[in-house]
Symmetry: C2
Subunit: 217 residues, 2 copies
DNA sequence: AATTCAAAAATATCAGATATTTTTATAAAC
DNA sequence: GTTTATAAAAATATCTGATATTTTTGAATT
């Protein structure tokens, strides 16, 4: 019922993380405490806490006695992230398809439907809604694997997704119709409980995205 | 050359993490800032920073406005952790065997040798050296996968290893000769570059450890 | 271009202070 | 006797401002 009494710390965490992902905070740039204090309107202690969290998730690099930096990007890192995402997400998808019940199917249908509405808008050129689109993309991918039964797996995946997302936002070019089709195919295979087919489309989806991003970097 | 000018924050981080892993800080217990301040002799800000880091790695649970707790344990969680470790470590091992060069082999031989010396001591009943033994165990497993070529994979694995380790320390019973043999077999298979065999021994190793722990909980 | 060194900037850390929220303990009510 | 309300106590979240160190910067010098 009640509005979550969000704490300043968690709000700051979300804002900084978002700014890193969308590239507003440039890869490799120094995160000076004093500067951040103004920008995010939080105290040093709160900021350090936030940055420490982001550091252990890997969005920020903390160098002892030298402060914090936005984690740099590199082709090798992108490849690693994509490969890990394949490993974890494909595994999770398989489990999810095996275990998913009617609720899972329902949520998945809903998520795919919403994503596809948004994809139409994107194809129609509404470039202004990239963030909303990416949110639906995330919700779709999450819905696919939601029934995997491992919260540990889901939380690792969520971080990986965001790291991958940062690279996507960085290159800023999307694959349009192609990716739409992949989403549809993996969605359909999942509903049909065709494990191998779904996993194979997912792998293709991620690997093509990787290739695309590598080419654009 | 010089002693790393360790910061209080990182020292505290290591101490608390260690205490959680070895069970000195009991699963589920409340981590009151005030109490910790005395116990670890650090200021509130430093402590919160530390706990935030541990929270995002999953050793601590942070509840908004209610403070920090040692992450509770459960059979389901143990199963998830073990399964994830199988997934990541087997994958890493495969890559490592494919890519490992002579340096890798050398380090691996050294690590296995040291581990086996320690295993002899343990079998001989030197119960007092459990921590040292576990360190060698860690170094051996790390040496096996060190050449996988993905630092992202290695850092995820390291956290998973520690989470799994906590459960091992908790049940406190070890599998003795059986595990020694598994280490040896996977070591030999790795040197022989027998990918499948090595991975299969590793999987067995972890899964038997899991079964053992589950039985003891 | 490389080295040196003091000044300036930034980090790491701490000790209070305050506003809120949660917990605990006590008392009143059904 | 459980439940419910309520005041007091405890704990969290957060900020400000101070200090000791370390790192960075900008000359001045070699």
């Amino acid at each position: 019922m009640s509005k979550k009494p969000n704490t300043i710390g968690s709000a700051t965490y979300q804002r900084i993380k978002r700014d890193i992902i969308i590239g507003k905070l440039a890869p490799g740039s120094k995160l000076k405490l004093d500067g951040l204090r103004q920008r995010y309107d939080a105290s040093m202690s709160t900021l350090r806490e936030t940055l420490s969290r982001l550091a252990s998730e890997g969005f920020v690099a903390a160098e002892e006695q030298r402060g914090f930096f936005v984690t740099p990007v590199s082709r090798e890192d992108l490849v690693e992230i994509a490969n890990l995402r394949v490993l974890l997400e494909c595994h999770a998808l398989q489990l999810s398809i095996e275990k998913g019940d009617d609720d899972w199917e329902g949520d998945l249908v809903a998520a795919h439907h919403k994503l596809s509405l948004m994809e139409k808008k994107m194809l129609a050129g509404q470039e202004d809604q990239i963030e909303a689109w990416k949110r639906y993309d995330w919700e779709f991918h999450l819905a696919m694997i939601a029934a995997c039964g491992s919260s540990n797996l889901l939380s690792l995946h969520s971080i990986l997704y965001d790291k991958y997302l940062r690279y996507q936002m960085l290159v800023l070019t999307n694959r349009g119709q192609e990716a739409v089709e992949e989403h549809f195919q993996m969605f359909r295979a999942a509903l049909a409980r065709d494990n191998n087919l779904a996993v194979s489309w997912l792998r293709t989806h991620i690997e093509k995205g990787l290739k695309h991003a590598l080419a654009a970097i």
